[in-house]
C-alpha cells in the first residue's frame, strides 16, 4: 500500500467518525426523557434513571418512586399533598412540584420539546 492511499484511508476514516459522532449527538438530544432530576430549593439533589425501579427518599421531605418507566411522589410531609396527588410523569419537561417543601421532580429531555402542557 503506498503512502498516498494510506493517507486517503485515514482521511475517510476521520470523516466517517466525525459524521457518526455528529449523528450520535443529534440522536441523544432528541431522545425522550430517560433520566430525571430532583431539585430541593432550586438546587440539584440528584439525577436518576427512569428505566430502573427505585424508591428515593429526599431527606425528611418526601419519597419519590420510579416504577415502570414513570416517576411519582409516593409520600410527602407537606400539608396540601398536591404532589402526591399528581399523576406519574415520564415526558421530558413535565414536572411534579411540591411547593411547601420546595421539591421539584422533572424529567430531563432532549431539545425537541420546549414545554409540555
Amino acid at each position: 500500500m503506498n503512502k498516498k492511499t494510506l493517507r486517503d484511508i485515514i482521511l475517510v476514516a476521520v470523516i466517517v467518525v466525525t459524521a457518526a459522532s455528529a449523528l450520535a449527538v443529534i440522536n441523544s438530544s432528541s431522545r425522550p426523557g430517560t433520566e430525571f432530576e430532583i431539585l430541593v430549593g432550586g438546587e440539584l439533589f440528584g439525577t436518576y434513571r427512569l428505566d430502573r425501579d427505585a424508591v428515593i427518599t429526599v431527606g425528611d421531605l418526601c419519597v419519590a418512586e420510579v416504577k415502570g418507566g414513570e416517576v411519582f411522589m409516593r409520600s410527602s410531609t407537606c400539608a396540601n399533598q398536591t404532589c402526591v396527588h399528581h399523576r406519574p410523569i415520564s415526558s421530558a419537561g413535565d414536572p411534579i412540584v411540591c411547593l411547601p417543601n420546595s421539591v421539584t421532580v422533572r424529567i430531563k429531555g432532549g431539545s425537541e420539546t420546549d414545554y409540555v402542557v
Partner: protein
C-alpha cells in the same frame, strides 16, 4: 480526491461551530414559589446578565400577582382576594385596580360561557379543596348544594376600586384564569424590557413569543395515558391544557379531579383534557376550563368567538380538533 475530501472535512468541522455562534444565547430559569406550580422562563438574550435582569423582573411580576390573586393567604399591605373573601361580606373594601379588573373579566367570562366559568364559585370549590386535601372521602351532595347557593357573580359588586359582597358567604376563586392573566402580564414585562424571543410556562400555561433562533417553539400536548400526544409548533400565542390528570384524588377506585361543573357540582366528566391555543393567555386559560365542561359543539362555538383553536381528548382516547388546530401540529 484528497483535496475534495479535505474540504468536506473542514466544512463538516466548521459548520456546527458556525451554527452555534448566533449572538443570542438560550438561558433558562425556574421558580417554585408562585401559583402553586413550577414556573419556567426561557429566553434568548445577548448576555447572561441581561437574562438575569429580565427573569428577575418576570419573577417579581409573578410574585406580585400571585399575592394579589391568592385566596388562601393574606399578606401585609396587600388587599388581595383572601382579604376580600374575608372582609367584603360586611362592608365594601378597597383593593387594587388589577383585582377589580380581574373581577370584571370574570363577569364577562361568566356571561360569554353561559355560566360555565364562574369566578364566584369559591364556596363550592373550597369544599372540594378540603376533601381533596383529606383524600379519603367524597363530599355529600347536601354539603355541595348548600355551598353552591352562594356562587352568584351578580352579588359581587365592583364600584371603582372597591368590592362588596351582597351575599356575605360568597367567595372569589380565580383558579380558572388567574395563572393565565399572570402569564400574560409577565410576558408583557419581558417584552417591555426588550426581549422578543422567549417562552414562559406556568405549570401548563404557556406563552411563547418570537422564535428560537428562527425556529418555532415546540410545545408538547400531554397524552393522559403518558407521553406526548402531539407537538405544536408555535410563535406569538398561548397554549393551555386543562386535564383530569393534573390534580385529583381517588376514593374507592373513582377519580375526582379539580375541574368542577357548576351545574352538577361534581367534576366534569366529558373529556380527559382540553388544550386551547389563542392569542391571550388568560383567555386560553379560561377557555380550556370552560370547554372542559361543555359539549363539543358549544365548545366549538365558544372557541370561534375568541378566535381560539382547541383539541379535545375523550375518555376513549379519541381526539377532536377545531378546524385550525392541525395548522399548529
Amino acid at each position: 480526491m484528497r483535496k475534495f475530501l479535505s474540504i468536506c472535512l473542514c466544512m463538516a468541522m466548521v459548520l456546527p461551530v458556525y451554527s452555534c455562534t448566533n449572538p443570542e444565547k438560550r438561558y433558562s430559569a425556574s421558580y417554585t414559589d408562585v401559583f402553586d406550580t413550577v414556573v419556567d422562563f426561557t429566553a434568548y438574550c445577548s448576555t447572561e446578565s441581561e437574562f438575569r435582569t429580565v427573569s428577575e423582573s418576570v419573577h417579581a411580576e409573578l410574585v406580585r400577582l400571585h399575592r394579589l390573586f391568592d385566596i388562601y393567604n393574606e399578606y401585609p399591605g396587600v388587599p388581595n382576594a383572601a382579604y376580600i373573601n374575608r372582609a367584603a361580606g360586611g362592608t365594601a373594601v378597597e383593593t387594587e385596580p388589577e383585582l377589580t379588573e380581574l373581577i370584571k373579566t370574570g363577569k364577562s367570562f361568566f356571561a360569554e360561557t353561559g355560566g360555565r366559568l364562574n369566578f364566584a364559585l369559591g364556596s363550592l370549590l373550597s369544599v372540594w379543596h378540603f376533601y381533596r386535601a383529606e383524600g379519603t372521602r367524597v363530599p355529600a351532595f347536601e354539603e355541595l348544594s348548600e355551598s353552591a347557593k352562594h356562587t352568584d357573580p351578580d352579588k359581587v359588586i365592583v364600584d371603582g376600586n372597591t368590592v362588596a359582597f351582597s351575599d356575605p358567604l360568597i367567595k372569589l376563586d380565580f383558579g380558572a384564569f388567574a395563572k393565565g392573566y399572570a402569564a400574560a402580564a409577565a410576558a408583557e414585562t419581558a417584552k417591555k424590557l426588550g426581549i422578543s424571543d422567549f417562552a414562559l410556562n406556568l405549570g401548563g400555561n404557556v406563552v411563547v413569543s418570537g422564535t428560537k433562533n428562527g425556529e418555532k417553539w415546540n410545545i408538547g400536548v400531554q397524552d393522559p395515558e403518558g407521553g406526548i400526544l402531539t407537538t405544536l409548533h408555535v410563535s406569538g400565542v398561548s397554549v393551555v391544557t386543562s386535564g383530569d390528570y393534573q390534580r385529583y384524588y381517588e376514593v374507592d377506585g373513582v377519580r375526582y379531579h379539580h375541574i368542577i361543573d357548576s351545574e352538577t357540582l361534581y367534576p366534569c366528566g366529558f373529556y380527559r383534557s382540553v388544550t386551547v391555543v389563542c392569542a391571550d393567555n388568560s383567555v386560553a386559560d379560561a377557555l380550556s376550563t370552560a370547554l372542559f365542561c361543555l359539549d363539543i359543539e358549544s365548545g366549538r362555538e365558544l372557541a370561534r368567538k375568541y378566535s381560539a383553536e382547541a383539541l379535545w381528548i375523550l375518555p376513549s382516547g379519541e381526539t377532536v380538533r377545531t378546524g385550525g388546530f392541525a395548522d399548529y401540529e
